[in-house]
Each structure stands twice: as C-alpha cells, then as structure tokens.
C-alpha cells in the first residue's frame, strides 16, 4: 500500500547516501555492519524493492530471464513451466515469456530470437524444446546470452542442456513388457528428426537384445507424437495375421497410445487382455483413459526447475537469498567456471524418468516366472 519508496527515500530515512544503500542491497563487503543493519531495517519496513528497470539500466544486468516456449501445444509444457516458475520465484529474477508459434514457418521463430537479442531485455534464456531453432539458440549462447535448452528435440549442440534419459525410459518400458512375458513387442517410433525418438528406440532395442529377443523391423511403426499416428499404427498392427501380430506395444508417446486404444476397440481387441500397451510421457490424462495407461513418466517439473537453477547459476550472482529446497542430483561443483563463460564440456543434466504401472499391461502372461523387482 506504500506509495513507492525509491532508493533516495530509503537513503534519507536511514541517514546515509544512496550509494551506501545500493551497497548493502548488493551485498558489497565494505559496509559497516551497523550501517548495513540500519539500512536493512528501513528496507524491510518500507518493503523496498529496487526498480528492476533502473537496476537493469544502470548495471547492465537485467535480472530478467526469458523463457522460450513452444506455442503451448504440448500438454506437458505446463508442468515444465511450473518448475521454472517455482525456481524463479525463489530468486529476485522475473520471467519473461516468449512464445513460439510452431504453426508458422520457422523464420518467424528466428525473428523472435532476433527480437530477444535486440531488446536485450533478458540476461539469460531458457529454451523449452526449441526444436529447429535450437541451433540459433546455441549461437545466442555462444554470442553471449547464457542459455539452457530443455529437452531439445534436435541433436544437442554445444550448449547446456537438461532433459530426461529417454533411452533408459524406453528400456524400462520394454523390459516391463518382457518381464510380463511378452516376446513380440512392437514399437511406435517418433519422427526421425527428433533425437528422443531415436533414444527411446535405442532403449527398446537394448531391452529386446538383452532378453535375446529378435528385432523385427515389421514391428516398428513411425510417425509423429500424436494420436493419429497411434491410430495408424493400430491399424497396421491389428490387421496383421494373429501369429505375427504383436502381443504388446510400446508407444513412444502417450498420445500415440490413445490412438492405439481407440483403434483396438474398433478391431474388437481388448487392452490389456489381447495386447499390452505402454506409453511414454506420463500425461495426466493417461490416468483417466480406460484402461489407465502404463507409461514412462517424464520428470517435467524437475526438468523445468533444474534447468532454471542451472541458468541462474550461470548468471553467477549472489542472488540466492532464500535457499532452494534440496535437489539431490544437483551438483554445483559441475558448474564452476561458469559465468566467466570459459567452460569446456557442455553441461548435460539427465533426470531419470520413472515407469508408472497401471492397467494397460495387465498381469504376467504365459505363466511367466519373472517377478518385478
């Protein structure tokens, strides 16, 4: 409710110069403890918050970080953003949203990146699944705008990166199916141009090979991470002669799995009785579909949070007034050298996914002896 105290007001009230107020605000060492104490008291009392605008102008540091968000088309963006917002809220930074319209040509997206650079508003950038523009983000990063990429769909470049272990996720999903007694396990592959498509497939392959199961190219269907692809895959698999037909399907996206479910119904095929199904992503709605979908839960919230922490640490300022809650896998040591921009190896943080077992795989079949450990 207070009008809007400026640093001048605080200085006057504390009986010091604004320079001193600025000093204590920025945790400069050379300040008399008593003075610091007094200034802090006034600051608290007046709940004084320095103007980000002015601070940015004067200091060249904007205390603003940008989040490049793909047009909110993917359902899990929200979870990532929750993590981002949470991390940011624990610091004096603010979050600026830059939305990419993936419906338009990629030129426009580069326009946005140019805009980000041009306005010079943010001092760091969080690129969420940038896809094609990721090369450009990489350039921005090298150019001097600290950036981190979250779960890029593209080949990772030389830029800090946070994501999940897609390969291990694919491995878990497939292994689960194998342990349930399945041998003919199909896979619905994502688009070739996404790195994660390959990684998930690699996990699938590894699990199959470890179990001594053959990799049948006939059992791999490829498409986008959307429902229609799942439908197409369903038609493809379910129209196979029974002895060739897979008894289980590992879809590399929950949306794909939804498509399979819809088509299965049309074929009179019951899930999980006739065919087991595992998805990938862990969308909320996967708990609602019938049967509830067993899936690989990606740690979206954590990804957002960790990526933000990483970016903030790169900005390398003593901002962390309130301590962040523990994040077990966070290794601040690996961050040393940042801020001076002279690190060598690109940072990559892989946060593990977890397999959520629900109904879509049923119980062990064929008298399989394997028990879940």
């Amino acid at each position: 409710m207070a009008g809007k105290p400026t640093i001048n007001d605080i200085a006057r009230m504390a009986g010091v110069s604004k320079a001193t107020v600025s000093r204590v605000l920025n945790h400069k060492p050379d300040v008399d403890p008593a003075t610091r104490e007094r200034v802090m008291r006034i600051v608290e009392e007046q709940s004084f918050v320095p103007s980000i605008t002015a601070t940015g102008l004067a200091g060249g540091q904007s205390r603003l970080i940008g989040a490049l968000v793909p047009a909110f088309t993917w359902p899990f963006i929200t979870d990532i953003m929750r993590g981002v917002a949470e991390a940011v809220s624990l610091t004096p930074y603010e979050l600026i949203l830059y939305s990419i319209n993936d419906s338009r040509r990629s030129d426009d997206n580069i326009d946005i990146l140019d805009h980000i650079l041009a306005t010079k508003l943010t001092s760091g950038l969080l690129a969420i699944m940038p896809g094609q523009p990721s090369k450009y983000v990489t350039r921005l990063h090298k150019y001097g705008l600290p950036s981190v990429i979250i779960d890029d769909q593209d080949k990772p470049g030389d830029i800090p990166w946070v994501g999940t272990d897609n390969k291990h996720g694919g491995y878990m999903a497939t292994k689960h199916l194998i342990e349930l007694g399945h041998r003919r396990i199909a896979h619905i592959h994502g688009l070739q141009r996404y790195l994660c498509s390959h990684e998930r497939y690699q996990g699938y392959c590894q699990a199959m090979q470890e179990a001594g199961l053959p990799l049948d190219p006939q059992l791999v269907f490829e498409g986008e991470f959307i429902q229609p692809t799942g439908r197409a895959a369903g038609h493809y698999f379910f129209s196979m002669p029974p002895e060739q037909r897979p008894t289980a399907i590992f879809a590399s996206a929950d949306l794909m799995a939804y498509g399979v479910m819809a088509v299965a119904e049309e074929y009179g095929i019951q899930i999980p009785r006739d065919v087991a199904l595992v998805g990938f992503d862990g969308l909320d709605s996967s708990a609602h579909v019938r049967p509830a979908l067993t899936t690989v839960q990606q740690p979206f919230y954590e990804m957002g949070r960790r990526a933000t922490e990483l970016l903030l640490s790169m900005l390398d300022k003593p901002h962390f007034a309130r301590k962040l809650p523990d994040s077990p896998a966070f290794q601040p040591t690996s961050l040393n050298g940042f801020g001076n921009n002279n690190y060598q190896e690109p940072i990559r943080i892989h946060i593990p996914s977890t397999l959520i077992v629900r109904e879509s795989c049923g119980s062990p079949r064929h008298l399989s002896l394997s028990t879940p450990d």
Copy 2:
C-alpha cells in the same frame, strides 16, 4: 548480429538529435515527413529496437504486462496463454509471468501481488482465474494498475472481466440431453464458492424448467472440478435404485465426467447406452477418452486473446503497429474513456461456448421426436 545500436547511434547516422529519433519512434505528430522517413530507414537498416529498460525508466511506462497465472494446474491454462501470447506478440509489449502457487496459503498469493506492485515493473496486469486473490487484484486496479480478470472463479468485482457464458453453456448441455429424450437428468455441481458453478447450474435449471421437467435436489451432487468428485458422484448416482437413477448426467467439468466414466465401468453401466454424459470445458483429452465425451467447449484461446486486447487498449497507446486479425465481438467503442481511468460501468466480455457433440450421449432414446435444430 549487429552489436547493439543505441538511439545515439541512430541519431548520428540519421544526422538528427536523439530527441527526434525518439519522436519518430513514438509516432509523435510533429515531425517532418522527410526526416521521419530518413530516420525510419536507418532504424530498419540497423533493426534498432529501443531498450525496454531505458524506455520504461524514462517514460514511466514499462511496456511490460504481467500475467498472473494459477500454478498451471488447470489443463486449459495453456490455451488461455496461447491467446495471451498471440495478442501480445502483435504489440511491442512483453509478457511477464507471475505464477501463483495455489498449493500454498493464499497469503503467499497476496505476497506476489504485493511484489508486482512493489517492483512496479508492469504497466498492466492480466489475472487468470485468480480466485480468492481477485479482490486484491480489484484493489490493484482501482489503485491504478490497469488489470483485467480472465474467467474469475469468484464473484466479479468492479474490474474488467473476460469469460464465457457459463449459464448458457449449462443450458446448452442440458437442453441437448433433453432433446435426446432424457427426463431424469442429474447435475454435478462445482464448489459453491465459484461463481461459474452457480452459473452452470442456473443454465441446467433453466433448460429443465423450460422443458417442464422437475428439479430434483436428489439429482444434484456437489464437489470440486476434479476426477474424484466425479467418482463420488458416480457412486452416488449409480447406487440409486434403477427407477430413481438418472438416465443422463451433466457434469460441470470434463474431469468430473472422467470420474463418472471410471465408476460406470465398475458398476457395469455403459455410457452412453445406460446413461448419457455431458462434460464442461472441452479439454483436449475429452476427445481421447472412451467414449469420446460430449462437452461444452470453452473458448479459452479467445478468452486469453480478447482479455489481452482489452488490457492493451486500456493502456491506451498507439501501439498497434500490425493490425490484429478481426475479432467479431470486439467493440472498441465500449472501451472509450479508458486510460483516463474514468469509466463507470465495469466492462464484461462474455465469449460464447459451443457444444461439441461426441459419443457419450448416444442417439435419441425413447423414440423422442425432438430433432436438433
């Protein structure tokens, strides 16, 4: 790629003073056309973008608008934000994200609002479904921070508001059921403290009464807009003796409908054969569930877009460089008087919802003669 031209550079290159550059940049009338032309050329060439930070400091106007977002827990936030981002991207404004953690006490949310006020960063505020804090937002608005509320869950205060016509939505849903031949139609009511719960219920009542159908309090179940409430409602309705049991259910949220579906299965009740079901919201996943859910589609994207346009128009500056695409119901005339903060009647924009008919209601029953018009 250019270094970072300042207004001084532009001024020098154009052979004018920076004041003049500033003038053309801000579309001031008193500038020689030739000069304006020349300056613009340089600006284009250098792709000069004035520093938002400096502009804000000097002008007192920050060209930044804040979006108060409820912790991304609701699935449709993404759609709203898509609309917001789209509208903002057509202007020189940037969007700052303030995330409310509804998991915490509401005190914290007020803290955020205080923070918004304190940092004085944004020149306008978009409050998305603020719920409890809406009174505080209203105060901020009166206090001088232009704000608009999107789809508030609370009683609307004296503040610009954009939302959908919940009552009409409830009316459409119920009428659809009635036209299908249903007479015992149940309703799952949202929490009392949300205005939209009442509105949707009112629509339900109106449709029932118009059709001369009795309002049976037994057929109304109340709870949150979440799946468990739907499950509870399902148990409640399905354990009724068959002659009392409703033949149709209008759930005031899609998530509730999902719960009903899950429980129906447990009771061996088939949807739509045994009971018809309509939801409310139009979540994407409602097209994926089995059977696909008939629902009232809220115009989330439009709500975000229109609310942003409204807020921007209140900020009352000649920013609209690129024209916004047509939005039919947008009446600029109703906005006159804004910006001087001396308007009388609070603006309310209701964007119509639409009924999406899918599978969960089946076809007309009881040889009903009614045909959809």
